[in-house]
Assembly symmetry: C2
Homo-oligomer: 453 residues x 2
């Protein structure tokens, strides 16, 4: 019985047309990474679970895909544990490996394991899929690519300025208009300090992070729920509702956070990053946004988020500075700053705005028709010359009906069809048909090469 | 407590230097695939186990990495099955997904699911990792890349000729001298028919496949063990010990297999492929090898194997024609022919022969030193211009000691260092140091661009 095939939910096949579009995105990002001196690494899809567990919070542990041990996976498993049906605990016994959940933790592991081979500051990029057992929904997949660039082993804010330039260049090349939002975790710490609740920085951050979605009043209500006093809320309201130019916002922030050393440090860092960036010029709009927290608790300095201006969609790139990436793997004191491009959302933005170049189809430039053995042999000779000249060429492999052969070129978007029939065989010419205009001309192989090159 | 990190056995990290070498291989293969009109697809790392199971034999089923179902994976599992400790059966209950084992089965599944979107003949390529729970050993990994190209939906032997041209071009570009061995499954069937043992084709094939390794006498002994009579062994000995040119071998084969219709068909196909290939010219050595069977039982026509001439290593590329790729998924009658490049072995060959080009390091072309804020700001401006001109450039992010900064350029193999210090700041120049010769010269930014472009 033949089975009707399917693929796991939340995963995708990519057809040639989709691959051409995805490669356009990945190639653009990769080229810019190279231009900025980032070097590529790759890590295995599978990591030991001890590397992954506990790094993404309790919820993250649940979302790890775990790989059943090979062979006799029940050996050594406590029968009581099986009886108890405690799945999380049992999973830890049945599986010693899992699929990577992001590129950051494997990168930290990589740095620790290879620290003696690496030259610091180490600028690495990595473009690989990650897997999460999330509930699939529109725009959220169980397998998706991350494109990360990080500089580690340097505290200099030049790295932030460089990463902002890099982001700007990628989106300029992709023709996507963006706004880059900037914040600094030290400003968030300053706000918490300002109201005498330094321990509540996470609560405060989580609440004000929602201001764009739920509005100021609801943020105030949530802060109150989280135990922040009315007085404190009144104090921080001007901080989270800053307006004016970035310069004006920075000045106002410095004034409001005058009593907080860490808060002022955050303002100072932000000012340095923004002025350095302004001096170089940016295509993107740069915006100081104190409500930006990006959920992740490991950022310690700059926080970066990128939004598309012309499409309603979540952030398409994000990142920030972290102080202790590798500490958990035994190498303390390594600070870094990095960004991650969301390829799938960028794909959605390019589709929505129809911003793909026309010539990315990825099919051959010319297809030779096939009229039989002698004509095909001659065509293969011509094709060999074309390929030597770097022109992608193919032959229709069977001497099928002409309509079928032309149909293939049409469907695949092959721009030229070359015909060697009886006449051409006698004349030593090739008839080249432009599939867009329908024009045909009889050419020598040299002329075909010149024309298609 | 910090944990000492490790990676799963049989998997690898790739450092920037290794990635540069790997990318050189993948880029070469990918470019040639494009030149030949193959189009890229990708499939998910995870497939449903029903897609994978039973496709690679019993041994293959055991080598599949299976993914534990998320959440309450014990629900619905028969407690008796757990007690029985029948791991293979239990695994089928605990897991519904597995990691792909090769690219062929996912491709067959892809073709069936997308048949209405595809234009046949469909020429696809796919470069993705696969996973096998094999015992790791030298040169054998649990995660490795396959680079496959297949044409499906066409019986024409032109496809074989094209694939041989493609193989030739890839290895010519990589500067690896190769021998392409060719056979045809129909010749193997003819041999079995010749001795009146058509059912024993697999036994015979397995035995004669080993002739290179164990020699003629041992092959004869093995054939005898497998129940082939002395008379039959005498009959096939001249077939499996052919010598002379390919033409002579083909003529001799046609003579020996004169009574076998299928055998003669195999000879005829081989002759057409070889003469078509010879007509176009080949860099590689082409060799008819009747002992070539490639273990895989699904080949039905041409069988292809590539060996490096200058390194003792297994086959570095292989492939062949199969008649019914998609039948198991409900789409009968789709024949195809394909090849698979073994990237990891090609990597070993290139390393052994030291055949990598010198300029693949993947680091920036120029590194700017850092003497402090004012100099760095000026350097960043220059770097922006260089990148606009397509030149990969970076700055040392910290104003560290000069020795340390120069050391970085040296370690990473960055060929030029650019210096903007106090003098250069005053003069509006850039001092460019050639790291190979040690020469320095004071240049304008325009001159630097011209020099490095």
């Amino acid at each position: 019985m033949a089975q009707k095939p399917s693929i796991p939910k939340g995963t995708r096949d990519f057809t040639p047309a989709e691959m051409a579009r995805r490669n356009y995105i990945f190639d653009t990002i990769r080229e810019v990474f190279h231009l900025f001196g980032f070097q590529q690494i790759e890590t295995p899809a599978m990591e030991t679970l001890s590397t992954l567990m506990g790094k993404y919070g309790e919820e993250g542990d649940k979302l790890l895909f775990k790989i059943l041990d090979s062979g006799d996976f029940l050996r050594g498993v406590d029968p009581k544990l099986i009886e108890s049906a405690d799945c999380p605990k049992l999973a830890a016994q049945l599986c010693e490996k899992g699929l990577r959940y992001d590129l950051t933790v494997p990168f930290a592991r990589f740095v620790v394991m290879h620290r003696n081979e690496l030259s610091f500051p180490f600028k690495r990029f990595q473009i690989q899929p990650v897997w999460r057992a999330d509930r699939p929904q529109k725009g959220r997949y169980r397998e998706f690519y991350q494109c990360d660039a990080d500089v580690i082993g340097s505290d200099s804010l030049i790295n932030e300025i460089e990463l902002l330039q890099l982001i700007d260049k990628v989106f300029k090349r992709l023709h996507i208009n963006i706004t880059i939002k900037l914040n600094n975790r030290k400003i968030l710490a300053g706000i918490a300090e300002l109201i005498g609740e330094p321990d509540k920085i996470v609560d405060i951050t989580v609440a004000i992070d929602k201001i764009d979605k739920i509005g100021l009043d609801n943020v105030k209500a949530e802060l109150k729920e989280r135990g922040i006093s009315d007085e404190a809320i009144a104090t921080i309201t001007p901080v989270i509702t800053l307006s004016g130019t970035n310069e004006e916002r920075l000045a106002k922030l410095a004034e409001l956070l005058a009593t907080s050393e860490i808060g002022l440090k955050g303002v100072e860092e932000l000012r340095e990053v923004m002025s350095g960036t302004d001096a170089l010029g940016l295509n993107a709009k740069l915006e100081l946004d104190v409500s930006l927290a990006r959920g992740l608790n490991y950022y310690t300095g700059t926080i970066i988020e990128v939004k598309a201006q012309d499409v309603e969609i979540g952030s398409i790139t994000g990142g920030g500075r972290y102080d202790n990436l590798t500490g958990v793997f035994g190498l303390p004191g390594v600070s870094g700053v990095g960004i991650s491009f969301g390829a799938d959302r960028i794909y959605d933005v390019l589709n929505a705005l129809n911003l793909y170049p026309e010539d990315i189809a990825g099919a051959a430039k010319v297809m030779f028709t096939n009229f039989g053995a002698a004509e095909a042999a001659k065509s293969l000779e011509a094709i060999k010359c074309l390929r030597e000249a770097g022109i992608a060429a193919e032959i229709y492999p069977d001497a099928a009906k002409m309509k079928k052969q032309m149909g293939r070129a049409d469907t695949l978007g092959i721009p030229y069809v070359a015909i060697i029939g009886e006449t051409e065989l006698q004349n030593g010419t090739i008839t080249l048909k432009d599939m867009t205009t329908g024009n045909q001309e009889a050419l020598t192989i040299e002329e075909v090469i010149t024309k298609l090159k």
